[in-house]
Amino acid sequence: MVLSRIAKVSLATVTILGLGVTTLSADTLSEVQKQGFVKCGVDGGLPGFSEVGSDGIYRGIDVDVCRAVAAATLGDAKKVKYIALNAKERLTALQSGEIDMLSRNTTWTETRDTSLGLNFAGVNYYDGQGFMVTKKLGVKSAKELDGASICLQTGTTTELNVADYFRTNKMKYKLVSYDTNDQVVKAYESGRCDVLTSDQSQLYGLRIKLAKPDESIVLPEVISKEPLGPVVRKGDGRWFDIVRWSFYAMLTAEESGVTSANVDAMLKSDNPDVKRLLGAEGQMGENLGLKKDFAYQIIKQVGNYGESFERTVGQGSPLKIQRGYNALWTNGGLQYAPPFR
């Protein structure tokens, strides 16, 4: 026992010398309020989810979760420090405390939720994995991809799903993996591989980046469940609750018909649901260790979930993705928030 502890400590020591020391704080909220901004890990190069515009501002549905948390904790959605991470770095960055939260189209899986010391705070986008190919290949279904070279981003659930799918269908494939989506797109364009695979939503986003988007098609098969959501470190229950309920506030607002445009008028609403949401009634903010009006600030500055969706990936964006699974449960989708009471 003592020996194994000695081994562990010396192992950790050896590694730390190479990696540098990061001290972890168990109280992320105080830390965030002290530093005055939320350190949020994002992709940074994925249209619709998180991308830096030509004006240097981050936009996307993942970015909106960071902004919502900043609005809730600091009262200002702009107080976010974005840290662009590739798929390989993201979980380690969160574990080590380099970021306060991760909102980077990250799939919620059992392993990640249990053994990595992380917790998923919700699902802000229900996705599934698909394939994109060039039209010239004449492929109509993923079942025809036997022997193909496949480009993908490493460090993702994507590469596990591909392995499973081809194994199940008794097909062979050649894997070509890269660190970032930009490299994946470049390799696909240069013909290094026949197929680009990723989550469906990303395929549409990456297709826009191609020189000739019309020459590629997305195959109809969806081979996996990919619930994407924000992630926090395990062991800080309050921060977990804040991230989770900041997102649920956006969902609840859409459900109750509160938007960034009418939120001020809604303050005078008689509807008890709305009153609780906006802090006119109840202890919702205090329960989280936040101000009474935290949800008001989120809706005012970021908007409700529907607004955020349409602006970033939906009809108001070049991606034009349908709500599909991401519609509210009342409209036949999967997005559902527990009650605000």
Binding site: R5, K8, V9, S10, L11, A12, T13, V14, T15, I16, L17, G18, L19, V21, T23, L24, A26, A87, K88, L91, T92, Q95, S96, T111, R112, S115, L116, G117, L137, L145, D146, G147, A148, S149, T154, G155, T156, E159, L160, V162, A163, D164, R167, Y173, K174, L175, V176, S177, Y178, D179, Q183, K186, A187, S190, G191, R192, D194, R233, K234, G235
Partner: protein, 384 residues
């Protein structure tokens, strides 16, 4: 007690001891801190993950590997791929470096300047950029599999790699492999005999044609003895890609090329400085004894120059090995890419995985330097 402290020797020992204790305590504190943090977060620890199924594919592997293998196997595959790229890089950069280093000192103005231009150009561009450059150039310039450059239907070059026929492993193939080993061994013995004969009698014996004959006749003999059953698997376009044969991927080629070109510049400089460090009088002495320029280079200058050049060249071999981790930029599956990259991401145990990876480089580096130190020792001028 005070008297003890006044003793310079004892005082020195005490302070050294205090420094060591302080250092150990500091490292212990950091280590304990990390372990405490990890336990608090509920992150898994230990090496149990090595037994777990990897679940992802690897494109190039010198040993059989499928998605169903373990992370431990991934580690081995990554390690082997690292060693392959390092070995290829070391061999080729030595050949190129030696050549360029000698050309750099050529009396021919153009050749010397070209060699210098090569060194100055490639030495001063960051290696990562060179890797990305070659990779993208190779990828963009090559046609797709259907329009491959075709050399006699045996070798194909396209943007998926360089395809060439692969012999099947059977007794004939093994016999031929063995015959090459025998040819190398006997050629070197033969050479040694010729040298000794020359030292004894002064008579020249032209070894080269006999050596070539050895390398041609022995394998032919082996082919016949081994059953004359040599079969090749030829690459053939089927479906999306070539099947059969052996393939060198663009990632491997770009990485090997960039590492070679880059490291060769440093080796060339080491060779040049070694040659220039040999006293000019040695060359004049060789000339006055009637040695041809080639003889003087081979028999007088190089043996002395190599001795001086070896330590810096060792450093370059070590650098090359460590630089091979830049493969992660182009996705060649060596240890940093697959083990410290993909496996780390799937299991999330950064400390164990990074420690193992660091240990690998440490051990490889120590082994290489031990080997070359031994060689260095052997090459030392023997004082008589």
């Amino acid at each position: 007690m005070v008297a003890l402290l006044r003793n310079q020797k004892i005082r020195g020992i005490i302070f050294q001891l205090l420094t060591v204790i302080g250092l150990v305590a500091f490292l212990w504190y950091i280590g304990a801190n990390t372990v405490a943090n990890i336990e608090q977060r509920g992150i898994q620890t230990g090496f149990g993950f090595l037994e777990g199924t990897a679940g992802f594919g690897i494109d190039q592997s010198p040993i059989p590997y499928t998605e169903e293998n373990t992370h431990g196997r991934v580690f081995i595959v990554g390690l082997l791929n690292t060693m392959i790229i390092a070995a290829v890089g070391i061999v080729f950069s030595t050949i190129v470096g030696l050549l360029i280093g000698i050309l750099r000192l050529s009396n021919n103005w153009l050749i010397a300047k070209l060699a210098k231009a090569y060194i100055d150009f490639f030495r001063n561009i960051p290696l990562l950029l060179q890797i990305l450059f070659w990779y993208n150039v190779v990828l963009r310039a090559m046609p797709n599999p259907k329009q491959s450059y075709n050399f006699f239907d045996t070798i194909f070059i396209n943007n998926r790699g360089l395809y060439f026929p692969q012999p099947e492993y059977n007794t004939t193939f093994l016999a031929i492999l063995l015959s090459f080993a025998v040819a190398i061994a006997s050629a070197s013995l033969f050479n040694r005999w010729a040298n000794r004969r020359k030292e004894a009698t002064g008579k020249d014996f032209f070894v080269l044609p006999w050596g070539i004959a050895l390398f041609l006749l022995l394998p032919a003999l082996a082919y016949w003895i081994g059953g004359a059953q040599l079969h090749f698997s030829f690459p053939e376009l089927r479906g999306f890609n070539f099947k059969g044969g052996k393939v060198l991927s663009p990632e491997f080629l770009a990485l090997a090329f960039a590492l070679t070109i880059y490291t060769a510049t440093f080796i060339a400089e080491a060779v040049r400085s070694g040659i220039e460090a040999v006293s000019h009088g040695q060359k004049e002495a060789a000339a006055s004894m009637g040695f041809s320029p080639y003889q003087s280079l081979k028999l007088v200058i190089l043996p002395q120059a190599i001795r001086i050049a070896i330590p810096p060249i060792i450093n370059q071999y070590l650098n090359l090995t460590k630089n091979s981790s830049l493969a992660t930029a182009v996705g060649y599956p060596e240890i940093v890419t697959v083990f410290a990259g993909t496996s780390l991401n799937q299991v999330g145990q950064a400390i164990e995985i990074i420690a193992m990876t660091m240990l690998v480089y440490l051990i490889i580096s120590l082994l290489v330097s031990a080997l070359l130190n031994w060689f260095n020792h052997k090459m030392k001028i023997k004082e008589r």
